[in-house]
């Protein structure tokens, strides 16, 4: 019962954030880019609910506008990673043998490679851009998903229903994607949300390190960093985005855990034990 409430609450929080991401620009009371240098950084007031930053921009409006970058990047990373990791994991786990060995060595290599280095260098090569950071994260995170899915696929592969499907003469692709994959749904779903959380936190970190979005973009991670100096005049300017990151991450984790549990129960093999 309480689990249900938590689940719904988490879903509601995420839904609100998604709404902000989609309609943030319409909802924002001010233009998030509008500067009022004469006003400068001030604390919360009726005109500016969460105050303003150094350039006199409305923090609340920027938070709303930032929801888009804060959520779409991680969402793309989460979905991309999961798709890539799941496909590779399924292929490696189902086919075993050489395919598996090669894929696993590649994932080893990816895991040993310092991710930050790849990011920095990649952003350097392609001349920057948030999209590329996002793409790089997909490639960097996928090996972890690949491993998880592979081990699950290895286990599923031994189950009788897979053998039954094979005796029915179904193609490997059908068995992998139509039979095994649906049974990994709870894990895949949980992976999506966990990766979302990790990506959310690390993309914010990238902004903090100055890789990623250009200055002035209303982005939560960037806002934390840019407005850190304002902790005395308007702490909300950096605390609010930090809190939102934590909130979004918490909600996504809770949702992931909750859905995982529910799916797992529903799909539980044995009715009894």
């Amino acid at each position: 019962m309480r689990d249900r409430v938590v689940l719904w609450a988490a879903a509601a929080v995420l839904a609100l954030l998604v709404l902000a991401a989609v309609a943030g620009l319409w909802l924002a009371p001010h233009d998030p880019g509008l500067q009022d240098i004469a006003l400068g950084p001030v604390g919360p007031s009726a005109a500016h609910w969460l105050g303003t930053d150094d350039l006199g921009r409305d923090v609340f409006s920027r938070l709303l506008a930032g929801a888009a970058t804060a959520l779409w990047g991680p969402a793309v990373v989460a979905v991309g990673t999961t798709v890539l990791g799941t496909v590779l994991g399924l292929v490696a786990g189902y086919h075993k043998g050489w395919t598996d060995a090669v894929l696993m060595r590649v994932t080893d290599l990816m895991i040993a490679l310092p991710g930050l280095l790849v990011l920095i260098v990649l952003v350097g090569i392609v001349g920057g851009g948030y999209g590329w950071s996002v793409a790089a994260l997909v490639v960097l995170y996928a090996p972890f998903d690949t491993r998880v899915i592979r081990s699950l696929a290895l286990a599923q592969r031994e189950l009788a229903y897979v053998e039954a499907a094979r005796t029915l003469g179904l193609s490997s692709r059908t068995i992998m994607f139509r039979h095994i994959l649906p049974n990994l749904a709870p894990t895949v779903l949980a992976n999506v949300l966990i990766t979302f959380v990790v990506a959310l936190v690390s993309l914010a970190g990238l902004s903090f390190l100055g890789i990623g979005l250009p200055a002035g973009t209303p982005d939560w991670g960037l806002m934390i960093e840019e407005n850190r100096a304002l902790l005395d005049l308007n702490p909300w300017a950096s605390l609010a985005p930090a809190a939102l990151i934590a909130l979004a991450a918490t909600a996504a984790t809770l949702l992931g855990d909750g859905l995982f549990e529910r799916f797992n129960q529903k799909g539980a093999g044995r009715a009894g034990d």
Binding site: L159, A160, Y161, E163, A164, A165, R166, T167, L168, G169, L170, H179, P182, N183, A185, K266, G267, A268, G269, R270, A271, G272
Partner: protein
């Protein structure tokens, strides 16, 4: 020794066990039998105070006078191992994979008596002390069960609760363990609560027994008396469903319907919906467990109208078509393991061939080779013409994993039908009807089906491509007698009426007698004996076959 009164076990608001009363006297072996899911295991776990999290018990359970229900963990810990021991169903899961046999026994012994471990091992019939250094994975199922038994008995409990201690083992080993249990019980004068769903075992081993159904006891009494003259229609039904090893019966009769949940039948006879002699009163109030005889009680309001067995022998010789499957000199090695050394066999059109043999003798491997799931290391397999999957299909042992839990029954069957030849394709509804399930089941998922129902779906799936040959790998091993009877009857019908040939793998000779025409006995990856089923079973030639037959007749001297 153990007294249970008014025991109720709940999972949240769901009632699982409702009003169990039983007494195990000092030095006796008491049997608790009943269909799967009737609450036997939970009752056993309640008796050592180890119910799974979230499950709670009310009522009274006393062991040697100490109340267990609501007792503090400290009291329970003092009791467990010392006064009451528990032996569980699955020897493969009961031992810690990271600890050696010796460690298991030693850690159970009081500190001062650790060196005794070897002696304890000898007591359970293992004389080789080097076994102490082995890890569970290095031991066979029977050995593991013995180690577990030694560990459970380490502190000399007065009562041993054995929860289906042999279901996971094959016939010969099962027999050995049962004998061992009986011997130790006799030597130590220990009480034993033996939980089983195998009526033959219960009758052979127990002094008294209780039959459980839907969370309650429906009958109790001395084993002999109950077997000879069941006092409850449910017991009678179970007895009738037990396949005979001696002869082939005309019809295998399971009890129709399935077990209701305990919460649904609180105010009526639990068996009323499946009982052939049910009357108005049965559904109106809960019949009390009434005394019917000295030391015998039954929860049926009426005397049992015993129906006689069908005695007519149905094992008449049949005629078959040309050879459909020919396996010659089959060999399969898994690295060093020689799973199949040399197997040749033939199955004719319309014929049903049984394969028996001890665990690990390579039966499954042969089947998998025939199905094309593994590539043989040598020999040849000739299997008619056309796509292999349209010629041969399979029914697996475990109904719980053989259906894809993520797909509905309808989708599973439709997909299978699409794999068959395009002409004369059957719809999922027709397939369900073929195996005796309501068409509405197409929308369900496997989780919503009982084990027997799942096995029917698995059979329907295999039949969907209309194969000439059906390979059945222990299709009833994990099912209750009653459900087993239903499935065997279904398979027999498939064989006789649809003319589908069958390769039937099992270790249960009684089952083999009912459904096969010819029998092949395997040992260590080789065929040691083969011939018409009746002939092999009635006059076995190979010593192994004889041993197999002997251990199927459970006869423990008491």
């Amino acid at each position: 020794m153990l007294a249970i009164e008014g025991l109720q076990i709940r999972y949240g608001s769901r009632l699982i066990v409702d009003g169990v009363d039983l007494q195990v006297r000092a030095g006796e072996t008491f049997g608790l039998v009943g269909e799967s899911g009737s609450g036997k295991s939970l009752t056993a776990r309640a008796a050592v105070g180890l119910l799974p999290r979230g499950i709670s018990a009310t009522g009274s359970i006393t062991v040697g006078g100490t109340q267990l229900v609501g007792a503090r963990e400290k009291v329970l810990r003092g009791l467990r191992g010392n006064r009451v021991g528990l032996l569980m169903q699955d020897p493969f899961a009961m031992l810690n994979p990271l600890r050696t046999a010796g460690q298991h026994i030693a850690e159970s012994l009081p500190r001062a008596r650790r060196p005794e471990a070897a002696a304890r091992l000898a007591e359970v019939g293992i004389d080789d002390p080097s076994v102490l250094q082995r890890y569970p994975f290095q031991l066979s199922g029977g050995m593991r069960q013995r180690i577990a038994l030694a560990a459970a008995l380490a502190r000399d409990p007065e009562l041993l609760i054995a929860d289906e201690p042999t279901t996971a083992l094959d016939a010969t080993v099962q027999d050995e363990i049962m004998r061992l249990l009986a011997r130790i019980q006799r030597e130590r004068g220990m009480s034993v609560l033996l939980i089983t769903h195998d009526l033959r075992v219960a009758f052979a081993l127990c002094d008294r027994l209780a039959v459980m159904y839907a969370g309650r006891i429906v009958e109790t009494g001395p084993a002999r008396a109950v077997s000879a003259d069941p006092g409850h229609p449910y017991t009678a039904g179970l007895l009738r469903a037990v396949p005979s090893i001696e002869r082939t019966v005309e019809r295998l009769a399971g009890i129709p319907g399935s077990v209701p949940s305990a919460s649904d039948v609180r105010e009526s006879c639990a068996f009323v919906s499946r009982c052939e002699q049910a009357r108005q009163e049965c559904a109106e109030a809960r019949p009390p467990l009434r005394e019917v005889d000295a030391d015998r009680r039954s929860a049926c309001l009426f005397p049992v109208e015993l129906q006689p067995y069908t005695t007519r022998d149905a094992g008449r010789p049949r005629s078959f078509g040309p050879t459909l499957l020919r396996v010659t000199g089959l060999r399969k090695d898994y690295r060093q393991v020689r799973a199949v050394r040399e197997v040749s066999l033939e199955v004719a059109e319309g014929e049903s061939v049984g394969v028996v043999g001890e665990s690990g003798s390579g039966k499954t491997t042969v089947a998998r080779c025939v199905l094309g799931l593994v590539t043989p290391s040598g020999g040849r397999i000739d299997l008619g013409t056309g796509l292999r999957h349209r010629v041969v299909q399979c029914v697996f042992q475990d109904p719980y994993t053989s259906l894809n839990p993520a797909r509905s029954i309808g989708a599973t069957l439709a997909e299978a039908a699409r794999q068959g030849a395009p002409d004369g394709r059957m719809t999922p509804q027709e397939l369900l009807e073929l195996v005796g399930l309501p068409p509405a089941y197409t929308r369900r998922r496997p989780a919503g089906l009982s084990g027997g129902e799942r096995q029917r779906v698995a059979i329907a799936r295999a039949l969907a491509v209309r194969p000439a040959l059906l390979v059945c790998d222990e299709p009833v091993a994990s099912l209750d007698v009653s459900v087993q009877a239903h499935i065997l009857e279904l398979l027999r019908r498939v064989n006789r009426e649809l003319g589908t040939s069958m390769l039937f793998i099992t270790h249960d000779l009684a089952v083999v007698r009912q459904v096969t025409d010819r029998l092949i006995v395997m040992l260590n990856g080789q065929v040691v004996e083969s011939g018409p089923t009746d002939q092999v079973l009635d006059s076995p030639e190979h010593p192994y076959t004889r041993r197999l037959l002997a251990s199927s007749e459970i006869s423990v001297e008491r």
